[in-house]
Amino acid sequence: MSSMRERMNRLRGSQGSSAIDEQSAQSENQTVNMPEALSANAAQETEAASALESPAQDVHEAVWQRLQVAERSSKWGSFLQREVRYPLQYQHGHHLLAELAETAEHLRVFHPEETGLPAPSLENLLFLDLETTGLGAGTGNIPFMVGLGYVQNEQFVIAQYLIRHPAEERAMLADLQTRMEDFHYLVTYNGRTFDWPVLAGRFIMNGLGRAELRLKHLDFLHPSRSIWRNTLASCKLSYVEEERLGIHRVDDVPGSQAPAIYFQFLADSNPSPLEGVFVHNELDMLAMACLSIRFGRLLDNRISGEVYAPKKPEEWIRTGLWLERMGQARQAEAIFHMVMEADPKGESSLMLLAARDKKVGNWERAVLLWQKVAMTAHVEFAAVYEAFIELAMYYEHRAKQPETALTYAHGAQSAISERALLQRADAKRRAEQAALTKRIERLKRKLSR
């Protein structure tokens, strides 16, 4: 055996460190970075183990028990399951889990085409989040933990499947397949491009067939992006919940560390470090429940005056635009109206609303918005420039007032010249400049006629 290693090392020669080295280095780092609470925990247990001098297995057994993990078996084999139950009266950040009961039905607009299907409700939502051994949806990426959330007997149940080794995957997936039959909606965060494709691949790999997703998917990553893009630094779930759902995780094990922790577990069977992964996954499930409540409330026009009401005009505008896309036109219009009343200054996001108004032919407000942007200092250059151009276009082609149009075109010109001092001209900028010059010349011709 070691002869094989020797041969390999010799052949690799100075070809640098192998991937394996990097990986083990990585996992070392990760152990160091483990949250204090957990590593302390782990340390205690190891101590306990050595103190009692009992076989490691017993210690491991104790940990499993403490984590509320039990074995599940079926004809496909066995795997582990951890179950945590939260009363619906549990307050998580801004929201009470019980709110899900009244808000769920409003999520129906995510699937307006499904008229025959019962509306989302407390009982028919299945929350799902995977922890996998790698990135992407390649065939070697194994979901070692499947987190499920659903409401049962007035409790929010979080059931987390864990496989002790890859051979248990089949049993776990078979169970998951059956479990999914009880629900109508699948709630995920980025499940469209990650969790579900991974699972679909795993069903095939394990001979469980080519499964089309029967459940209707509610992937909240996309609406989150619609609303919080730009106003949040990132739309990662942990970030969204912290900034917008009022949830503060303590000592969270980042999802990115989960694979290393699991591989360590595969190697030494010590379950302690897995606790962090269980907790992380559990918190993700709760966050998704809260997100469902939030989006349900937004769709139910419960925004103004709430703790979570947007602070910035941009977030208001984006919320309005999203609501409009979700078919809530009246509600959206109310928000737009409110934004206009507040008369925000120096907001380049007004351009978003202006673009929407232009599209639907609401020229009056569009012009007003462009003027607001164009005339305010301290707005991003690109927005100012764009506003001037829009105005020039509007007055030239629609209002047929070449004189006004020319004024705005000159405005755009001066905006460009200002920027020219700061930035180098690239091809795109030169094209912009050329188009603008052409516009000014054309307007001048029109005026001289």
Binding site: M1, M4, R5, R7, M8, R10, L11, R12, G13, S14, Q15, S18, A19, I20, Q23, S24, T133, G134, L135, G136, A137, G138, T139, G140, I142, H165, P166, A167, P197, A200, G201, R202, I204, M205, R210, P259, A260, F263, L266, A267, R424, D426, A427
Partner: protein
């Protein structure tokens, strides 16, 4: 004697552009006018331009330039010769008048008239007169290829003239069971019956037998696989096929051809290429609905196999796997691909399919063996080629000796330039092959310079690896539709990229293997018409050996293509990929070796996790992305052009080992005929920053090599020497580079290279001399060893069929492990790919060929074409042969 007009005028032809269409080359200095050429007459009668003629007047001198002014005015004139109508310029008419053919023109042809007729008979006479005019050479018309071939016959540098007789087609009717729509589609494309090899390919493949069809270029090999595949899909819509081509370009080609037939058939068969350029939206469709997926091994390796669950409909219904250009899968690349195919078969069996392999290959000695090794399946060989072929002239051209004692010949590059010029200016579509990227660029710039007055430089292009795909597609298209007249290429165009029919192929030096030579030769003259292939020999030993022993080339079977899928590094890498794709059972096979050791090793490395009888992938990484099928080193060096600071762009890339000697600081890197100087090679980040320059030289780097024997596996005594085979450690470090002048090839300077040492563990065969005639001094012995190494470095790649860079030869006067004079021959790939092993097995053949080469070399006592020049005056040739004779 100078021609002068009867009227006493003297004629000086100055540089004169008449409406940009015809040019008169200037040579006023010394009142000597070398050439007038009038080529291409554009205008309304554009069609006739192709066969337009030109005059060439050489060496005519005169004193008076006054005549000149009138050339600027053009009066259109036409002349009909042989049914073709030519437009004449005033210049021509004046010329004819000058030589006393006033009766040439009928009607008024004064300077202000725009047309006139020419008396045909008088015209012909006029040319006769022109021709006989003392001191004037006039050539009429474009020379045809046939004319040039006839002229070449008398060329004294031609050392061998081999004619390949045309071959009639051997046809078979369409098989009875062939799908009606498919038959109709083929018939509409002018295919009324099949060639014999296509027929047997079809019949064998539909029976489910794996085949390898050996066919030369342009023999309709694509039908060998398209026929059974289309037939299968036409009969059963759920069937799928996978096509593998070694390059993206070939895949693109194939798709367009295939889609044409499919469109004719009127059946909704979907064929798609799947490569790095395929957009994400299309990828979805290809996976789900593509009947025929056309891709390359790299894509299969890194994008398809690791995501096989997205390709269920392909793998469940896979009926055929087509491997085109099988012969390209050799060496390191082939060894990788064989493992990729093992993975592919593993996945097919997971999905319950058992596809039939259809391979096509150029002529090599062991197509069946290679196909079987590559696919791990039994094969039936089909080599009954029934395609017709035009006459081919295969000519060996040996440049004249310029230095008798040293046997130095005129540079092959220079000769190639001149030959190519002759073809190109006669508008004969020509491909020039050169052996290295640098050589391609040098020849390209020379030819462009030589013909820039006759034809635009844009119609002569370079082609090699490192050009961006878009450029390449454009060049291929240009060659097909005739817009590009000439192309200078590395062996990149040896493959079946569709570039249409070229008339002439010129090789700069022997391409290195018989198979490769025939492949390159196949680029000239496809099914019909005459074609000319000229191989211009360089001074290297093997080139000289080949041209002086034409039988070696024409009568020997081509080389064996070797792969070693069991190279431990390669095998282990692909087992990691395979484990990522599907768990390994302990009982499973992956090639002929017992893999349990490797599985356990990977488990130890914590890449696999064992549970019961199964090994599961258990690492975060994506193994396929860490493994490149193409190069020994995984990282390529990216070439960044920063000539324009505001628009820095990537112009190409190069593998790490080549970059050591081609992209070091201050190296001159040529790309599309443009010179770049490397300003900085950032070795750590694998980036070379270059800037456009215009200099008169190119660079050439030296590599210092050191060897250490690690293990001796096999050993055999040969007279007073011992030949060993085993493992060695090679360290390499580039030392200095030389600047070499472009025009004269003289050394005009040098500089150091600062790059880290690279180490390589590989297999080697080495020759130890136990006893040497004590009269031979150490210094002399060292030179003799160098000489033998020089010869071996040339001979070995030819005998074992590999690229020159795949196998290296290094002599040591005192080998570190024995202190004996030793010559090492080693594989230039970690772990070896079976080349040195082959040399060990065939050592007698190798040493015999080396001896033969030295003895047959016409030089007195060593020249660069055999043992080198260092040993002058020492009777080196005799001593070298003596040493080699000791090995019996």
């Amino acid at each position: 004697m100078h021609p002068s007009g009867s009227d006493g005028f003297c004629k000086v032809w100055d540089c004169c552009f008449i409406k940009n269409h015809c040019k008169i080359e200037r040579c006023i200095i010394g009142n000597r006018c070398r050439k007038i050429s009038i080529s291409r007459f554009p205008g309304k009668s554009q069609k006739t331009t192709e066969s337009a003629f030109f005059f060439e007047i050489k060496e005519c001198t005169t004193k008076n330039r006054g005549y000149f002014a009138c050339f600027a005015r053009i009066v259109t004139a036409y002349v009909k010769v042989g049914g073709d109508s030519y437009k004449l310029t005033l210049l021509q008419r004046l010329m004819m008048r000058e030589i006393g053919c006033k009766e040439l023109f009928t009607g008024d042809c004064g300077p202000n008239k725009h047309s006139c007729r020419i008396n045909e008979k008088a015209f012909t006479n006029a040319y006769g007169l022109l021709l006989s005019y003392q001191g004037v050479t006039v050539m009429i018309g474009k020379k045809s290829l046939h004319d040039i071939i006839n002229e070449l016959r008398t060329n004294e540098n031609i050392v061998n003239w081999f004619e390949i007789e045309p071959q009639e087609a051997k046809a078979a009717p369409f098989p009875e069971d062939i799908n009606e729509k498919l038959r109709a589609a083929l018939e509409r494309r002018g295919i009324a019956n099949l060639y014999t090899h296509q027929d047997s390919a079809y019949r064998t493949a539909v029976k489910g037998e794996n085949i390898v069809a050996v066919t030369p270029t342009a023999s309709g090999k694509t039908l060998c696989y398209n026929l059974p595949v289309l037939q299968e899909i036409a009969n059963d819509d759920t069937s799928r096929a996978l096509y593998l081509f070694p390059t993206k370009a070939l895949a693109q080609d194939q798709m367009s051809e295939l889609n044409e037939i499919i469109a004719e058939m009127g059946i909704a068969i979907k064929s798609y290429t799947y490569d790095g350029d395929t957009s994400p939206a299309i990828r979805q469709i290809v996976r789900k609905a593509g009947h025929i997926v056309i891709t390359n091994p790299d894509m299969l390796h890194s994008a398809i196999l690791p995501h096989h669950t997205k390709w269920v409909s392909l793998f469940e219904n896979l009926k055929y796997i087509v491997i085109d250009e099988l012969h390209t899968y050799r060496g390191v690349f082939g060894s990788h691909v064989a493992n990729v195919i093992r993975r592919l078969r593993r996945i097919c069996s997971f999905y319950g399919s058992n596809p039939t392999f259809i391979c096509t290959s150029a002529t090599i000695a062991n197509p069946k063996e290679l196909a079987e090794q590559l696919t791990g399946s039994p094969m039936r060989l089909l080599d009954n080629n029934g395609a017709p072929r035009g006459r081919k002239h295969f000519v060996f051209y040996n440049p004249p000796i310029v230095n008798e004692p040293l046997n130095i010949r005129k540079s092959a590059t220079v000769e190639v330039n001149n030959l190519a010029k002759e073809f190109l200016k006669n508008k004969i579509q020509t491909i020039v092959f050169a052996r290295s990227r640098v050589r391609v660029e040098i020849i390209l710039s020379h030819i462009q310079e030589l013909v820039k007055n006759e034809i635009g430089t844009k119609s002569i292009r370079g082609y090699r690896g490192g050009y961006l795909p878009k450029q390449r597609r454009e060049i291929e298209r240009g060659l097909r539709d005739g817009e590009i007249l000439g192309v200078v290429s590395t062996n990149a165009l040896e493959l079946g990229v569709d570039i249409g029919q070229l008339q002439v192929c010129v090789m700069t030096g022997y391409p290195g293997s018989i198979a490769s030579t025939w492949q390159q030769a196949g680029r000239a003259g496809r099914r019909h018409g005459e074609a000319l292939i000229v191989m211009v020999a360089s001074s290297t030993p093997i080139d000289q050996y080949i041209v002086q022993n034409p039988d070696y080339f024409f009568e020997r079977t081509p080389e064996h293509a070797r792969i070693n899928p069991e190279n431990l590094l390669i095998l282990v890498d692909h087992m990691r990929c395979a484990a990522y794709e599907l768990p390994f059972k302990t009982t499973e096979e992956f090639g002929p070796l017992d893999i349990s050791d490797i599985l356990e090793y990977l488990q130890e490395e914590r890449v696999l996790h064992r549970n019961g009888d199964t090994f599961y992938w258990s690492a975060q990484s994506f193994p396929a992305s860490e493994i490149s099928l193409r190069s020994a080193s995984q990282e390529n060096v990216v070439i960044v052009d920063q000539s324009n600071i505001a628009a820095v762009k990537i112009i190409g890339e190069m593998d790490r080992f080549s970059a050591m000697t081609l992209l070091h600081d201050e190296a001159i890197y040529l790309h599309q005929g443009i010179q770049y100087q490397v300003e900085k090679l950032d070795w750590e980040h694998k980036k070379a920053y270059v800037r456009e320059v215009d200099v008169e030289y190119y660079t050439d780097a030296n590599l210092a090599v050191n060897l250490k024997v690690l293990e001796i596996d096999k050993t055999i005594a040969k007279g007073q020497a011992v030949v060993n085979f085993g493992d060695v450690a090679v360290t390499m470090i580039p030392t200095i580079f030389k600047k070499i002048k472009l025009t004269t090839f003289e050394n005009i300077g040098s500089g150091p290279i600062h790059l880290p040492e690279e180490e390589l563990h590989t297999s080697a065969t080495w020759l130890e001399l136990k006893e040497v005639d004590p009269e031979i001094g150490t210094k002399t012995l060292e030179q003799l060893l160098l000489g033998i190494a020089n010869v071996l470095q040339h001979i070995v790649p030819v005998l074992v069929m590999c690229d020159r860079s795949d196998v290296h030869v290094t002599p040591q006067i005192k080998a570190a492990h024995t202190g004996l004079p030793t010559i090492f021959i080693y594989d230039h790939y970690p772990g070896g790919i079976g080349l040195a092993d082959d040399v060990y097995k065939r050592f007698n053949e190798v040493s015999e060929a080396a001896k033969n080469l030295i003895q047959k070399c016409p030089c007195k006592d060593g020249c660069p074409s055999c043992i080198g020049t260092e040993i002058a005056g020492l009777n080196g040739k005799k001593k070298t042969v003596q040493i080699l004779s000791l090995l019996q």
